[in-house]
């Protein structure tokens, strides 16, 4: 800082020194002057005490306006922050409610699906049971091949191609008897 700059604004350099913002060379020059300049020493003392009062007065402002100041926005913009929060809260509640309803419907669907699966399973079981041919009945009764062919097959046999060999076996057994 030049002598002219110091004379124009003596407090600026003192502030920079107290704040630790002076470059090293300028700091050393300042401290050399402090060795013999009582007025400069008192200026340092005054700067510290004055800044203490400023810091104490800034404290309440920090909690209310700091974010707005950071972005160089007008303080009035902070009015919309609580409004935005309420809106987001309501939107979140609606989303949660919609999700809950969707999940409930899904649960019902899943229950229906479960019932359908169980019914299908039961059908398969019945067909399996139906597949259990009463062989004794086939042996004890005399049917000729035409009568046997005329017999209406049971539900399970009708749909099960693999049971044809049993039918053939019955026919063969009857043929042997005859």
């Amino acid at each position: 800082m030049t002598e002219i700059e110091r004379q124009n604004d003596p407090h600026w350099e003192t502030f920079q020194y107290v704040a630790g913002e002076l470059p090293l060379a300028q700091q050393q020059d300042f401290e050399t002057r402090l060795e013999s300049d009582q007025a400069l020493r008192q200026q340092v003392a005054k700067m510290v005490s004055g800044l203490a009062i400023v810091a104490d007065e800034l404290q309440p402002i920090v909690s209310l306006r700091s974010t707005a100041m950071e972005n160089d926005r007008e303080p009035q913009a902070t009015f919309w922050r609580p409004v935005r929060r309420v809106f987001l809260g309501v939107a979140a509640l609606i989303a949660i409610g919609t999700l809950a309803i969707a999940l409930t419907n899904r649960t019902e669907d899943m229950a229906t699906d479960s019932i359908a699966v169980a019914w299908a399973d039961s059908l398969e079981e019945e067909s399996f049971q139906e597949f259990d041919v009463d062989v004794d009945f086939a042996v004890d009764v005399d049917f000729d091949e035409y009568e046997l062919a005329a017999i209406e097959p049971t539900v399970g046999l009708e749909s099960d191609d693999e049971s044809d060999w049993i039918f053939d076996a019955i026919v063969a057994v009857e043929a042997m008897k005859n």
């Binding site: 005054k46 005490s49 400023v54 810091a55 700091s66």
Partner: protein, 186 residues
């Protein structure tokens, strides 16, 4: 006789000094300790070192008070001794620089000393002035002042945080200090 004139002068002396014309240590401490502490905080920016140097200064005063000619020279003497000791400490201990407080003026020591009635009145006036000065700052200036003086951020950090050039930050700070100038003057 006021507190600040508290020097024993039982015998008049053409030179204004006698063997019993001794500096009252307690009175000297009451008058100068606060200002001296603030000065040392500006130099050292370390509260515990400030306390050590301050104590050492008044200890030397007790030991050398006979060499002090008069009250007018006392303040200058105290500041000189305190500064010499502070610089020795500062240049010896590199750790001082590392542990310097970011915001020396927020030290609790500044607020620890009780204020005399006169000092309390002055403090109230200064507080009122500061409130008005801060209210007169633009939002941009106030943002810089708050970050530098209250939060202790460096100017470069403030420039990054506010996303403005460093020169702009310095200009805002300097113009804000000009509004606070009466606070820093005698």
């Amino acid at each position: 006789m006021t507190k600040s004139d508290k020097i024993d002068q039982p015998h008049s002396n053409p030179q204004g000094y006698s063997i019993e014309n001794r500096i009252d240590i307690e009175a000297a401490y009451e008058e100068h300790a606060r200002s001296l502490r603030n000065f040392l905080l500006g130099v050292l920016r370390n509260e515990s070192l400030v306390a050590d140097v301050l104590q050492g200064t008044f200890l030397k005063l007790m030991q050398q008070r006979d060499s002090i000619r008069d009250r007018a020279a006392l303040k200058s003497w105290l500041f000189q001794v305190a500064y010499n000791d502070a610089i020795v400490v500062k240049r010896k201990k590199a750790v001082v620089v590392k542990h310097q407080e970011k915001v020396a003026w927020r030290s609790d020591a500044i607020r620890a000393d009780p204020l005399s009635p006169a000092d309390r009145t002055l403090h109230e006036e200064q507080t009122r002035f500061v409130r008005e000065a801060i209210a007169s700052l633009s939002p941009q200036q106030r943002a810089v002042v708050q970050k530098r003086i209250y939060e202790g951020m460096k100017f470069r950090e403030i420039a990054d945080a506010l996303d403005v050039p460093l020169g702009t930050v310095l200009a805002r700070m300097q113009s804000s200090l000009k509004k606070l100038r009466p606070l820093f003057e005698d």
